[in-house]
């Protein structure tokens, strides 16, 4: 009952006109930076941080958090419309979302990702409110060995991303791993494969990679096959998801919300993993996995929901342990510190108004986002009618500005153009970029957690099998691989018999 009275107080605080106003400005700004590829929520928040000096702590945290979860809504827009993922987590949305747009179903794709984000956002806030403390203890049980096993499990998802040839998917993944080794070795600080370019000391950036492979690659592909005047070759069908779409999406949204939240709690930059995991899960349980990659709405609904609830999951460690797991959450803490409030494990007991005010404002912010995003769909979809001669240069321009804006580096822009060519060639020879991206994201996580674990165990590999959580994760990974092998053998047999 105590929780309920806190919730009521939180709503009372967040419904104050000034807080409502800042919440609205925050989510609107967030939607904007989410839609524009490149400079993300963390850049925006740090630039706007000085603006919050003059307002109360509750208002400023409501405002800044709004920018972040607002960006989550906007992030899928460019993935679906023009195949530009604004971040690693949106790569999955490109797979089926962009196909849907090409089939004239951009509206339902955008709609289901907005509704999915809304539902996942709301469900995960409930989890956050009632389960924060026990879940935080779960998060702590993840040390380097557990994390390493989790990443190994994540790597098995590569096989679910393969749509055409499994061998080609694995080759692409291998290339992704190779790329991820560029930069300073996390354990010794030694530079590897940097070609003497200082910009590569931190490795290849994720944005130049994904925007090159997907966005720029798509532009090149369109240039090569330019016939008509419009990028879109079919008629636009309905604007909102149909009854059938809802039927197909309801379970993926529910599953995505849950898995996203769980992965979000685990500390250590696993947010992109949430959307990949949800995609793999949906494909595994789907009755028609062959539709994935050809515009299956489940492939948009699940990952988009997972993406959003992973953000809320990240707040568990932030508030119950007082440890900011991501750059954005560290910025939220910085905002509180400037107001003389000590963020940490005592934040909720000492300042319940801030935590509950934020939670309540997230409900309200999610509703606002729904009302901002649904009317925008019509506008976005109409953008697809823009002639290719205008659209393609615009896409290229946005990719260049977006990549440059992240850290003002021309090397990054050159890299993006290089990966644009790579993306085009991969498309030409039927290699898929998604396994490459997943391997690229997981590579450093795997390498670092493996080396950390072995350093802790003084080189003894039994550390991965002696710990219950770690061995469980490894067992699931082994099961997934084996079940795939058996499954694909059966399928081959049927195919052979048919022939």
């Amino acid at each position: 009952m105590e929780v309920l009275s806190h919730v009521m107080n939180g709503f009372a605080a967040s419904l104050e006109p000034v807080n409502l106003l800042y919440c609205f400005i925050g989510v609107l700004l967030g939607t904007l930076v989410g839609v524009l590829p490149g400079i993300g929520p963390s850049g925006t928040i740090s630039i706007l941080l000085p603006l919050t000096f003059g307002i109360s702590p509750v208002t400023s945290i409501i405002f800044l958090a709004g920018i972040y979860y607002g960006a989550m809504y906007g992030g899928s827009t460019t993935s679906i419309l023009v195949n530009i993922p604004g971040e690693a987590a949106s790569v999955v949305t490109c797979l089926d979302g962009y196909r849907m747009a090409k089939q004239g179903r951009a509206g339902p794709a955008l709609g289901i990702s907005a509704f999915g984000s809304f539902i996942a956002g709301t469900i995960s806030i409930v989890f956050l409110m009632f389960l924060s403390y026990p879940l935080a203890t779960f998060a702590l049980s993840f040390g380097p060995p557990e994390y390493c096993s989790l990443i190994i499990l994540g790597i098995t998802f590569i096989t679910y991303l393969a749509q055409k040839s499994m061998i080609k998917a694995l080759i692409a993944a291998g290339f992704g791993f190779l790329l991820s080794f560029v930069g300073m070795d996390g354990m010794t600080g030694r530079a590897r494969f940097t070609l003497g370019i200082p910009d590569l000391l931190d490795g290849v950036g994720i944005l130049p990679l994904v925007m090159g492979l997907f966005g720029v690659g798509e532009v090149f592909k369109n240039l090569a096959s330019l016939q008509g005047v419009s990028v879109l070759k079919t008629k636009i069908k309905n604007l909102l998801p149909t009854k059938q779409d809802w039927k197909d999406s309801s379970k993926p949204i529910a599953r995505g919300s849950l898995i996203g939240f769980i992965i979000g709690i685990i500390p250590g930059g696993s947010a992109p993993l949430a959307s990949f995991a949800s995609y793999a899960l949906e494909k595994r349980f789907s009755k028609h996995p062959e539709k994935f990659g050809h515009g299956a709405i489940e492939g948009v609904a699940g990952p988009e929901s997972a993406n959003n609830s992973a953000f809320t999951g990240g707040l568990v460690t932030l508030f119950s342990l007082g440890i900011p797991p991501t750059v954005v959450s560290a910025l939220l803490f910085a905002a509180l510190m400037i107001h003389g409030i000590q963020p940490g494990p005592l934040l909720i007991p000492e300042h319940p108004d801030i935590f509950w005010g934020l939670v309540a404002s997230m409900y309200i912010g999610n509703i606002m986002l729904l009302f901002i995003n649904i009317p925008l769909i019509g506008l976005w979809v109409r953008m697809l009618k823009v002639p290719a001669r205008v659209m393609l240069p615009l896409i290229l321009m946005f990719c260049i500005i977006g990549t440059y804006s992240v850290r003002n580096s021309l090397v990054d822009v050159s890299l993006m153009m290089f990966f644009g060519v790579v993306g085009y060639l991969m498309e030409k020879f039927e290699y898929e970029p998604a396994p490459l991206v997943l391997a690229f994201v997981l590579g450093p996580l795997l390498e670092n957690s493996l080396k950390q674990s072995l350093k802790i165990s003084r080189g003894d590999f039994s550390i991965f099998f002696a710990r219950p959580l770690s061995i469980t994760l490894l067992a699931i990974a082994a099961f997934l691989i084996l079940s795939q092998l058996i499954f694909s053998k059966k399928k081959n047999k049927i195919r052979l018999e048919k022939e």
């Binding site: 380097p144 600080g189 030694r190 003497g196 200082p198 510190m337 953008m383 580096s409 003084r458």
Partner: protein
Amino acid sequence: MKAKKRVFRFIFMTLLLGMIFILGTGSVAGVFAQEYPTRPIDMIISMAPGAAADIGARLIAKAAEPFLGKEIVPINKVGGGGAIAAGLVAKAKPDGYTILSTVTATLTNVPHMESLTYSLDDFIPVFEHGYLTPVFIVKADSPYKTMKDVVEAARKKPGTINFGVPGAGTSPDIAGRMIADQEKVDMAIVPLGGSAPSITALLGGHVAVAGVSTPAAIPQIKAGKVRALATIGAKRADGLADTPTLVEQGYPNIKLDELYIIVVPKGTPRAIVDKLENALRKGWAAEGEYKKTAKATYMYPTNPLSGAKLAEWLKEQSTINGEIIKKAKLGK
């Protein structure tokens, strides 16, 4: 028709937004200086937007502006432990219009680890606007009260004591290696990728000791979740007055403060350096957002180093850290 118009208006707006982005990040070439400064000054920040060093740099710039009469424009050039920003400024025209804000490790540690185009000698130090003394912490229920307790435990049961540190070549990493080296015991120093993951690993019992930044540790200490074992600076840290330094605990060589500093390229005229230092010092002393924020995050230097004193300090740190890095075979 109306729809078409709207589409074009949308394109126009996005183009406009794009232009603003370009203009906002670029810099405008200026005219010759009669009395410095006659135009805005570019401040290259080596850390990511939102990092503690970045926030501090932006605020001291704002605080110093009134005393310079011109704007200081912050530009982030992130990467390589600050190496990208430092390499850029080392090559910049030494006219006082390109200045660098970074953490001292960029100049004292990174050049020993990577093959770079710059060294400490390529810069004239101007002003210290923040300092950070990392601290070693243990879980609240840990049996260790001092660093010597940890060393004894490592000696009794080799292979059991692990230190979590933010990264290879950071001051907690170097301090941990110095302790293990001096005591000749087996302690694994594990780079975990930041203060937050190090605290998480400590609370989860995956490492026995964590070396983290003071602002990250203090809330956990106040909540009674962790205990401070030792700070690794020359003097006791702000906000942790009861915690003895490693120097006090029998490690006289370990004095590894990290400073946030502003430097200019070698060859910048003396008068310009003095003017900058003067403005920064006045900004440091002024009441305002910089002072308030720096104090709240335990970064406010009570007696900031500048000019020749700062240069001397940097030289000394570079020598000490260079030896350790070579010995530990970090980098190169």
